[in-house]
């Protein structure tokens, strides 16, 4: 009667690896098909040379940009580093403020009543509209730009943390309360851990929002960064630079999201269903 029912966590290793490869290969394949179509459309003249640059040229420019500064004044590495720093500062600030705020709002009614109207009023304002105020309050350095990013990034943190903690299993709350835990202790020991999966979803959305707001934030004032590079590409009528900028933003964003997912599986692995 006492046989353990430890469920098989994963399928046998070989079939798992095979499955992963298949998925990976099909992704790569579809990407290559996309690039091929793009190249052909340009080379065969379906779209004017002025309107779209073929990927072969874009790749050449991209490789060049890794170690040459012209025409925007810095190498691609410098731009990536500058933008990443900016986005991560804004993102971390958003997490530090947004997650606890969302959790508290979901647990303590007075906090909710106090914060909710303000949150609802601020939330629909596009971050770009805050640029003049950001300059007035914070200047034109990284603080002001990180603030623009923070505005976009903290919304998913708050919302997801709020929903996460609201979904706490009421039975677990009773478990803690009957052992004599105070409301605060129950919040920390049951509410917060219970919300962790939702918090991580919020973090991913938040990082995404931070990254997509990059271009807007760098409009404030920037001499480096991927958004800045795109602006320069525009002023110099260099669509190839613009596309390099966009692709770099896309690729780097995907990379950061991947890293975050890996971190999540480390921390929240006990909850993977």
């Amino acid at each position: 009667m006492s046989t353990a029912h430890a469920s098989a966590l994963e399928a046998p290793a070989t079939s798992r690896v095979k499955g992963y490869w298949k998925e990976y290969n099909s992704s790569v394949f579809s990407l290559l098909v996309f690039l091929l179509i793009w190249e052909l459309v340009c080379r065969l003249g379906f779209i004017s040379r002025f309107q779209l640059v073929p990927p072969s040229e874009v790749i050449v420019v991209m490789i060049e940009k890794f170690w040459t500064a012209p025409p925007d004044g810095a190498t691609l590495f410098t731009h990536i580093a500058a933008s990443m720093t900016l986005a991560l500062v804004g993102f971390c600030a958003a997490v530090v403020v947004g997650v606890p705020l969302g959790l508290l709002m979901g647990w303590y009614k007075p906090v909710m009543v106090l914060v909710r109207p303000l949150f609802d009023a601020v939330r629909p304002i596009p971050p770009i509209a805050w640029i003049p105020l950001a300059i007035l309050w914070l200047g034109i350095g990284i603080e002001a730009k990180a603030f623009i990013i923070w505005l976009a990034a903290f919304v998913p943190c708050v919302i997801n943390s709020y929903i996460g903690i609201k979904l706490t299993n009421p039975v677990l709350i009773r478990v803690a309360r009957i052992y004599g835990a105070s409301n605060w202790e129950t919040f920390i020991k049951i509410g917060v851990p219970s919300a962790v999966p939702m918090i991580f979803t919020g973090l991913k959305l938040s990082l995404n929002a931070a990254w997509t707001t990059l271009v807007a934030a760098e409009l404030l004032a920037a001499s480096e960064g991927l958004g800045y590079m795109i602006q320069m590409g525009r002023r110099l009528a260099r669509p190839d630079i613009i596309i390099v900028g966009m692709l770099t933003i896309g690729f780097t964003g995907a990379l950061m999201s991947y890293v975050l997912t890996k971190i999540e599986s480390r921390i929240a692995s006990s909850r993977r269903l």
Partner: protein, 258 residues
């Protein structure tokens, strides 16, 4: 011996752990619990049975101070019941393992909330792991366990506190028969080992007679204690034993009469 004598013998000389007086619960105009008074003795295994919907769960919620009573006193060791001062434990119908804690951390949870000294926490955790036979699975997580294993974790967590009162609300209702018999035996074994006070609620009469030293029959809303039946049978009990059947039928009749 007559029932009356049996009863008197039973109550003589026992130390009262929990004393319930005039417990009344009203939701607006709906009277659910009506003037319930009884004692639970130290180390006793008491079962409460009644028809479905008679207010058993409300009764338990009042006892555990989860909902306020309209009137009446609940005293534990002579003091008004309070989860922060008394050690109360509750086993729910639903699975209540904490999903992000391992088996051993689940067991430690109650002890930690009660701020017991670390060596006591470890000692008791080890004891319970041994007692419920989950030592091999100490670092497993609830999602890796079967339902019955999870309930054992919950039992272990609660017994680890050696609570003033352990309240159990139809904990085996969701499980199949074989499993249920097995867990009932487990429960008795652990209770005998630890020796804490247990209040077990069920609508399953056989289960009540199998487990309890004393059975209280709760009537329909507004609920009162209709009858008290002493179960003076040796353990392990046998469902087929005529004495068992007699008591079982007695309880059944008591419930049916309304």
């Amino acid at each position: 011996m007559t029932n009356q004598q049996l009863s008197e013998n039973y109550h003589r000389g026992k130390e009262v752990k929990v004393s319930v007086t005039d417990l009344t619960k009203k939701y607006d105009d709906l009277l659910v619990l009506n003037d319930i008074s009884f004692n639970i003795y130290k180390g006793e295994f008491l079962c409460i049975v009644g028809p479905t919907g008679c207010g058993k769960t409300t009764f338990l919620n009042c006892l555990s101070r989860f909902i306020p009573t309209t009137r009446g006193d609940i005293l534990v060791d002579g003091q008004p019941a309070d989860p922060t001062h008394h050690d109360m434990a509750f086993v729910f119908q639903e699975v209540s393992t904490i999903p992000w804690l391992s088996v051993e951390d689940n067991i430690r949870f109650g002890l930690k909330v009660k701020r017991r000294p670390p060596d006591e926490v470890e000692r008791r955790t080890e004891q319970m792991l041994e007692l419920v036979g989950l030592k091999k699975f100490r670092s497993y997580f609830p999602r890796q366990l079967s339902a019955s294993m999870e309930q054992r974790v919950v039992i272990a967590r609660n017994f680890a506190l050696n609570p003033d009162i352990l309240l159990m609300d139809e904990p085996y209702g969701q499980l199949d028969l074989k499993l249920r018999y097995y867990l009932e035996d487990e429960l008795i074994r652990i209770w005998q080992e630890i020796g804490c006070t247990v209040l077990f609620i069920t609508h399953n009469i056989e289960e009540a007679v199998y487990l309890a030293q004393r059975v209280l029959v709760l009537g329909q809303k507004p609920a009162t204690i209709k009858e008290e039946i002493i179960v003076d049978l040796p353990r392990p009990r046998n469902f087929a034993d005529p004495a068992f059947v007699k008591i079982r039928d007695h309880v059944t009749d008591a419930i049916r009469w309304w």
